[in-house]
């Protein structure tokens, strides 16, 4: 039984005091590019108080329904982002994953890919899911490449779903099945 289920090779996933995370997240959320890469909701910077309450409410759910983790680097213990599994896992065994690397200097260093590896292992080995899905925006090619590397397969696009900067963009869906993850998982 692997006791380091939440440790990767570059990062670890953690659940922390809502306020600690909220203060950092609030800073990231003032970066509108970050917001627009992450979310379809209109970019709007939430207050620390609002974020703290959101995280707290989620932590209080028992059993958990939204598995939200902070991403910390193994070296330096820096909070670089967050990652979570969302949706209703029962009875079909599927959840959606969402990831955000908030620290710009942390982009392109493999933290996201590593965090995704860890969460997929958690999803398949602990939550016993059958598949993990995600949706991402056409204008986020860096993320799409990262997901493809992680093993996600393209499953289609909702055409012209988003309206931003005066034009429309597709919403891209990807998914990884348990069998595919098992075949890929070398560790």
């Amino acid at each position: 039984m692997d006791t380091n289920l939440l440790h990767g090779s570059l990062v670890r996933l953690a659940v922390e005091e809502p306020k600690i995370n909220a203060e950092v997240y609030a800073l990231w959320n003032r970066d509108s590019e970050f917001m627009r890469l992450l979310d379809a909701e209109p970019a709007y910077p939430p207050s620390v108080k609002k974020l703290t309450e959101l995280i707290q409410k989620d932590q209080e759910k028992d059993p958990a329904s939204f598995y939200l983790f902070a991403i910390r680097t193994l070296e330096g213990d820096k909070l670089v982002g967050y990652i979570g599994l969302d949706g209703e896992a029962f009875p079909h065994g599927e959840l959606f994953v969402g990831i955000a690397i908030g620290e710009r200097e942390a982009w392109g260093k493999g933290y996201g890919t590593d965090a995704m590896k860890v969460i997929l292992r958690y999803a398949f080995q602990e939550l016993n899911l059958r598949r993990v899905s995600l949706d991402t925006f056409e204008y986020n090619p860096r993320a799409i490449r990262s997901y493809e590397k992680a093993g996600f397969v393209h499953e289609g696009r909702a055409r012209e779903f988003l309206h931003r900067e005066g034009r429309r963009w597709d919403l891209i869906f990807m998914g990884i099945l348990r069998e595919e993850w098992l075949a890929k998982d070398t560790s």
């Binding site: 059993p63 896992a89 029962f90 009875p91 079909h92 939550l127 016993n128």
Partner: protein
């Protein structure tokens, strides 16, 4: 896609209003033999009003680890009992099942087994569970036989856990796995 997921040969499973169940519970609970076959707790007799309020309060809670159905006869639509799942562990696909027929004249005529078969089909075909377990008391041989007929396999006994009428009794754990249920071919076509 079948549309008879909740219908058996003799009964079907339904969702009922709190006041309907309250009336049944307060009546059935007067039968102490029924209570002692069903429950380890010392019987307490609650008013219909109390039952209704308790049931309404339970409706408010969105509990994900339990499911409740009333059992009605197909002929005559008589409400004869209830069945449900509890301690449902979604992540592991495991649950416990309970069943009780409050109307005595329906005992011993296959109504309980029929309801249990419908409940199992719901557990395996809708909730996609991996196994269903139950706890039954040593002094309830009629139920034990009924469960064995449906396909439950004994999994262990908790010895001397109950004390009633001056002597000790075991309770029995039984369980049925998805593969066993499929092999038995009950209501799977």
């Amino acid at each position: 896609m079948k549309n008879d997921l909740l219908t058996g040969k003799l009964v079907h499973l339904t969702a009922e209003n709190p006041e309907v169940m309250a009336e049944c519970f307060s009546r059935w609970n007067q039968d102490s033999e029924w209570l002692r076959l069903l429950d380890t707790e010392p019987p307490r007799l609650f008013s219909q009003k109390n039952w209704k309020e308790w049931l309404e309060k339970n409706l408010e809670k969105d509990e994900r680890d339990r499911i409740f159905f009333a059992i009605r006869t197909l002929e005559g639509e008589t409400l004869i009992g209830f069945t449900g799942l509890f301690d449902l562990f979604q992540q592991h696909g495991d649950t416990l099942v309970a069943i009780a027929l409050g109307e005595r004249k329906f005992w011993g005529n296959g109504y309980g087994s029929d309801a249990m078969r419908v409940m199992l089909r719901y557990a395996f075909n809708e909730l996609n569970l991996h196994r269903v377990g139950l706890i039954v008391f040593e002094y309830n041989p009629r139920a034990i036989r009924s469960y064995e007929k449906v396909g439950f396999v004994p999994e262990g006994r908790v010895r001397g856990a109950m004390l009633r009428d001056g002597r000790r009794w075991d309770y029995l754990y039984m369980g049925i796995m998805r593969e066993e249920w499929l092999a038995k071919g009950i209501m799977t076509s």
